[in-house]
């Protein structure tokens, strides 16, 4: 435990860095993924291509993803972010798609009959109704990102992985813990916080099924 106190600055730095990487990646993934999901839902011919591509990306092992980024983007922050963003797309795209596609058609008919434009229908009816499903996707994406963030250190991006890997190579449990505990705490806190948001989004998330992506 002395280690924690002695090195709290290093731990804090690594944690901050880790958070930075994950937050940025998730933010980017949201900006890209949700519009993609909406497009897939609205432009049906594209749905297969979009969902298919995103699914394939998701099945690629995380380490392999980082590995593939290196020849393309080198080492450091950028390839790490790129890999995590790519990996976070599926839960967001898939859930945005599913949410919108599952809005009852008669609700869309009523909205159209009232005189809402397609854009207004999307913004005021379809997206609000999809919020629970999308929240579930965001939760998955965030927890994934926190996990993947530990590997980011392998390609020089920093983060708590630095501590974990150093702990492994020096066979020092304390160092491993110093890196692991913040990660676990971050992941669990994020998971709990987002579950609460999901509940608030009006419907109970089905937390009992692991993803059955296409």
């Amino acid at each position: 435990m002395d280690y924690f106190i002695a090195n709290y600055d290093r731990i804090a730095l690594a944690t901050a860095r880790h958070f930075e990487i994950c937050a940025l990646s998730v933010a980017l993934a949201l900006l890209i993924g949700i519009p993609l999901g909406i497009v897939a839902a609205k432009v049906r011919p594209l749905a297969f291509a979009i969902l298919g591509t995103v699914s394939v990306i998701y099945t690629i092992p995380t380490l392999a993803m980082f590995g593939l980024m290196i020849p393309l983007l080198g080492l450091g922050f950028v390839p790490a972010i790129a890999a995590i963003v790519l990996y976070s797309l599926l839960p967001l795209v898939q859930n945005a798609y599913t949410g919108i596609v599952n809005v009852p058609p008669h609700m869309k008919e009523a909205a159209r009959g009232l005189g809402m434009s397609e854009g207004q229908i999307l913004w005021r009816v379809e997206l609000p109704l999809s919020l629970p499903v999308i929240s579930a996707g965001v939760r998955t994406a965030v927890v994934n990102a926190v996990g993947m963030g530990t590997l980011a250190s392998l390609i020089g991006a920093g983060g708590l992985g630095d501590l974990i890997f150093r702990g492994i190579s020096t066979v020092s449990l304390v160092v491993v813990l110093a890196g692991s505990i913040p990660v676990i705490v971050m992941a669990v806190l994020a998971d709990m916080a987002l579950r609460v948001l999901e509940l608030r989004a009006g419907r109970r998330a089905d937390s009992r099924t692991a993803g059955s992506a296409p």
Partner: protein
Amino acid sequence: MSETAIKFRSVTKRFDGTELPAVDRLDLDVHQGETVALIGASGCGKTTTLKMINRLIDPTDGAIMVAGRDVRSVPILELRRSLGYVIQQVGLFPHMTVAANIAVVPQLLGWDRKRIAARVDELLALVHLPPEQYRGRRPAELSGGQQQRVGVARALAADPPILLMDEPFGALDPITRASLQNEVLDIQRKLRKAIVIVTHDMEEAIRLGDRIVVMEQGRIAQAGTPADLLLKPATPFIASLLGEDRAIKLLQTMKVASLMQAGGEMTDGAPGIGRDATLHEALGVFLSSGAPGLTVTDEDGKAVAMLARDGLFRLQSAHR
């Protein structure tokens, strides 16, 4: 003569992949203040016809005029916001309160908040849902009948002159259905909209319609007042739609005042009947009392005329 709210001129709709048109050269006028019921078997084109008014479906041929303007010449959103639309599944937005649902079109039109709030309360009162109780509720907390009342309120929010209803009460139990039909009659009495209602329930059409339009394979098989149809159904199919008891149904559409005779023999002790009661109610009194004649009274209870039982039974032959 009230102005024509909706005009169909030789309107045809052909869907891809089917030979026969869903709607075939339809001509139809709907006047302001009247309720027109579109009725027919599944696939006769009644719903397609309705949906061409607010352009959820566009005609292949012909023109539809709303308030004198071709529906295609008006920007589509403006058109829809000027028409009230009620569907069977109601389609209330579950994530919005009752008030927010009703406020949708006024908000789209840019009304200010105070005006909208006042209007919401006004409409809730109109459909007999006390505003203080129902304003903040969510659709999921309401029964089917209450939901559809809100649906009607929502359709009327921007005070459109025309109300379109697509089998609005089909999903409700008979008791609730009757109650909501009364609401519509009540609203029509107060507001005098032009209402087009699609239904497959002949009783509903007779109750609500000032005119009934029976459709078959995209064309009008018969159009007229309920009495017209009940007295002279144009085809055996329409006769069967009206039911074996159409002679009795006819009595429901006629008032005592139309058959009474002023100054006839006033039998002492004859049971009374109001002049505004239907002949159907009069029949009930004849059957339960056995009297050959009834005293007809006005709103104050004063005897003004007589209703003869024979006259009631000779009704059909008198019209042939």
